[in-house]
Symmetry: C2
Subunit: 294 residues, 2 copies
């Protein structure tokens, strides 16, 4: 299949690496000439250009740009693509994308592969990024079923786990497990940086271990991505942050009142609940015995 | 050297495995007969007993019990140990331990290896748990220097990174990078569990990926340990939680006011700051090229 990728960052580049390994012909478009060159050098694309006209030959196009560029990109693609071409995106928010794209392209499949790393850009692209990862397909009533099936088949070939849902439910769910963690994690780092006791923070930097590393990871990620999540999923993120703040207040209250029984019950509850959110392929590195992918 | 370990959980058991590998004779004490048996079977100790009298032969004793049992354990040890024996602990809080032990044993070295995992108990014990990890030695003016040097030498032999500090500074620093993360992380899990939209939380469980896994890890850990941190480092943890709550409010404020420039600046700051808390040996698994231990 001839597959186009617009936006050759971590996700676009990683898609390209995998899709080429699977035997597809991959064409890439980036705003940056240097990114095009590196994408070819790294084997993420067969050909690349800063000119979106390169997409004319593509049967399927993955739009892997930042969220705010998705609709403008599709508007540009319109004049080049064959009407039968399928466009999909990888944006981490779906409601606003679906609304913006609705009247632009019929064969559009809203997608969201739940994969990432602390790094971004073409240099961070890697093979097998999507293996065992959830891949949300957030179709609406107007999404053509055959187009959706093509994207699902591609996602399945990346060994991703297809999860179908509505765009609104998608946005509420990712607010909780993806966008909220960015804010709670960033707030943790910022709390340390704002510490007025300089000796304490100097020591904290030395003592910080795996607990801090893991809890702070997503808060130390791509700032543009964090802002975009907040911008494009504002209402659901505010709802989640409000609920989160109540939980922080609840912990503070227990500790202030020295209600250790209540705190213990809370922590027992969180210990019991957490595994419901973990996949077999997504377990703690410490229990890597379960890390096989099948 | 004859080394005693009281408390054969994750830390005590892992210490035993390493110390035996290094050629020491390791004697273990646990309240549970079965733990003693498993510690011997797993090679974490040469001999083990539920009777603390076994410690009589030890030159150095690691007290690896829960924090509240440290002082009572040392009180019990008093009648069995030779006066030249050195006692150290591995408690994650130091001020209250130092105060409680002050008049019990002269040769006491307050310690805190910053290592852990989501698991606990003798079955979770592992070799090389302390490699490249910070090991705080939180001595006071009355800590005998030669005793401290012995413990530092042992910690160094585990390939841990010795960090000397005062008990009060230790407690303030770990409140920020160890105890606060437990609460922020547990609150994240609890926010999801309290979600009233059942379809959203069912989807969230399916979509949760590495971001949620990492951010929720320490909040899904040992509840007893979490409560003890709060109980024994209450004042510093409340101070940290209060500062954290202000950061959460700041994020909420930015998002409510749609001040995306301010949010971006905040996230740029946290992205820049986070690496200051990471060690070369403690980097993100995603950038595992740096994972060598030397």
């Amino acid at each position: 299949m001839k597959i186009g990728i617009v936006g050759l960052g971590l996700i676009g580049g990683s898609l390209g690496l995998d899709l080429r390994s699977l035997g597809h012909q991959v064409l890439g478009v980036s705003r940056s000439q240097q990114t095009c060159r590196r994408a070819i050098e790294r084997g993420a694309v067969d050909d690349a250009s800063v000119d979106i006209a390169l997409m004319a030959r593509a049967e399927v196009v993955f739009v892997c740009t930042p969220i705010e560029a998705i609709a403008p990109t599709i508007l540009q693609l319109k004049t080049h693509l064959s009407p039968s071409a399928i466009i999909t995106d990888v944006g981490s928010v779906k409601m606003l994308v679906v609304t913006a794209v609705k009247d632009l392209w019929h064969n559009f499949v809203p997608g969201h592969p739940m994969a990432g790393s602390a790094e971004s850009g073409i240099e961070a692209a890697q093979n097998n990024l999507f293996v065992g990862r959830p891949y949300a397909i957030a179709t609406t009533q107007t999404t053509p079923e055959d187009a959706s099936e093509v994207i699902e088949e591609i996602a399945r070939s990346l060994s991703a786990k297809i999860i179908k849902c509505s765009p609104s439910l998608h946005d509420r769910a990712v607010a909780l497990i993806s966008h909220l963690p960015v804010m709670t994690s960033a707030s943790l780092i910022e709390t340390c940086m704002q510490e007025s006791d300089e000796a304490a923070i100097a020591l904290a930097k030395q003592l910080a271990s795996s607990g801090f590393r893991d809890t702070s990871r997503v808060g130390g990620g791509n700032p543009e991505l964090g802002v975009m999540m907040a911008q494009y999923n504002r209402q659901e993120l505010l709802r989640a942050l409000d609920a989160y703040r109540q939980q922080i207040d609840r912990s503070i209250d227990y500790i202030k009142r020295e209600d250790w029984a209540a705190l213990k019950e809370l922590l027992q509850q969180t210990q019991l609940s957490r595994p419901q959110f973990l996949k077999k392929t997504d377990c703690d590195p410490s229990s890597s015995g379960q890390k096989s992918l099948k």
